[in-house]
């Protein structure tokens, strides 16, 4: 069964999709979303690749478990920074980048 | 029996894909939120089916956590996003 490899390749596609969105958008909330999608793609690659032979590998499971929790705390912190920027400047983009894109 | 469970799970996944259209189209924000809420319920059903099909009883715990926490997003929506704007009330 090659379900693991299948999910790993899905993860690669998700990562690149997220990367495209991350470069493309100037709005910080969209960047945070794109960054999370990239992270999910990475996790899929890690777990899927480790068990492409059909054998379950607990080591990447543990690493990705830590990764998920770190990702949510990083997301929360990024959101708070963005909201503080919005409170102080009224914009949701970094200075020097255009609003609409 | 296992085949039946998997077939049902596939059917529910198709339902999720159909429900996505409501999120994409849904005229008001509340329509979209309710569609997402519906996916929580569908997800619980899929998890319970897979718990039987793959013989992994731990998936029932996942379904339990899912059922408990799925309402959180809706509560956040009602309390923090939905300001009763005139456009959103049909």
């Amino acid at each position: 069964m090659t379900g693991g490899l299948f999910y790993a390749i899905t993860g690669v596609l998700l990562f690149c999709l997220g990367l495209y969105g991350f470069i493309q958008h100037a709005h910080l909330l969209r960047r945070i979303l794109a960054f999370n999608i990239m992270g999910s793609g990475c996790f899929l690659v890690l777990v899927g690749l480790a068990q492409r032979g059909g054998q379950v590998d607990p080591v990447p499971h543990a690493l990705v478990l830590t990764g998920i929790v770190v990702a949510v705390s990083a997301t929360a912190f990024a959101l708070i920074l963005m909201r503080q920027l919005y409170v102080e400047s009224g914009h949701c983009t970094l200075p020097g980048e255009d609003e609409e894109s | 029996m296992e085949k039946l469970y998997l077939a049902l799970a596939v059917f529910l996944m198709l339902n999720v894909a159909a429900g996505l259209l409501r999120i994409l189209r849904g005229p008001t924000a509340a329509d979209r939120m309710l569609a997402a809420q519906l996916f929580g319920t569908t997800g619980v059903a899929i998890l319970l089916l897979l718990a039987e099909a793959q013989a992994v009883p731990a998936l029932r715990d996942v379904a339990l956590v899912f059922a408990l926490l799925a309402a959180l997003a809706t509560v956040a929506f009602v309390k923090r996003v939905w300001y009763r704007k005139p456009e959103d009330i049909p």
Partner: protein, 243 residues
């Protein structure tokens, strides 16, 4: 124009990465029988992480391999991970310190929400306890339990029953630090007994892991709730949206 270029570059990256994954050895399902046998051997000899974990599972003090990896074999990662979570909270506190003090918004919970809170919060706490206990022998553990606990906290906050919490008082600070502190004390404590850092003695491993996990659950729950509560609130929260 740039947009097309970026899209093409990302597509190229996807193709390259996908091709690299496809070419990696050890993909038993796609090769001929002989090759797959050979590669199965190579995989067992060189990587063999699942086999290693399985071989040492009975020395880890728990019966669930993922928990064993998280809190025993690779406990270093988990120690640093709770450190990262604390750093995120520190960052939030720093931002909040710079911000203007928040006006108090009286929030009312409607009848439905109040009923939901009454029903769901005790269940969430119960499920968190169950997941913590279950982590020793089946899927579950400190992270999942902490996340469920944080869900209960967020629900309480949304229904207006949890005060703003920030700046944190003594007990909240202690709770935030508890997981990291207990972990660190145990990690250093075992070095006194002649073991290496984080290498628990086999007999006490189960008890030590349970102590770490219980304090981690509480701390992770509190940290995640603080990350939710610490967000700066909009200028006129709850009022009519206006341009």
């Amino acid at each position: 124009m740039t947009r097309t270029l970026i899209a093409l570059l990302c597509l190229g990256l996807a193709g390259m990465l996908g091709w690299a994954l496809w070419q990696l050895p050890g993909d038993v399902g796609l090769k001929s029988d002989l090759q797959s046998e050979l590669q199965g051997q190579v995989q067992a000899d060189i990587v063999g992480l699942p086999a290693l974990v399985a071989a040492h599972l009975d020395q880890s003090g728990v019966r669930h391999p993922v928990t064993a990896v998280l809190l025993n074999f690779r406990a270093y990662d988990t120690l640093l991970e709770i450190g990262v979570l604390l750093l995120a909270v520190l960052g939030v506190l720093a931002v909040r310190h710079a911000a203007a003090p928040e006006p108090v918004h009286p929030q009312r919970a409607g009848a439905v929400l109040a009923a939901l809170v009454h029903l769901a919060v005790p269940l969430m706490v119960l499920v968190a306890g169950y997941l913590l206990w279950a982590g020793a022998h089946q899927p579950g553990g400190a992270f999942q339990a902490g996340a469920v606990l944080a869900g209960a906290g967020v629900l309480l906050r949304l229904s207006g029953r949890l005060p703003a919490l920030l700046p944190p008082g003594f007990w909240l600070r202690a709770g935030l630090l508890l997981g990291f502190a207990v972990f660190l004390v145990i990690a250093l404590g075992v070095t006194r007994g002649g073991h290496e850092l984080l290498a628990y003695p086999v007999q006490q491993a189960g008890g030590l892991i349970l102590a770490i996990e219980a304090s981690l659950t509480l701390s992770i729950g509190l940290i995640l709730v603080s990350l939710f509560v610490g967000a700066p609130s909009p200028p006129e929260h709850g009022g009519e949206a206006s341009e």
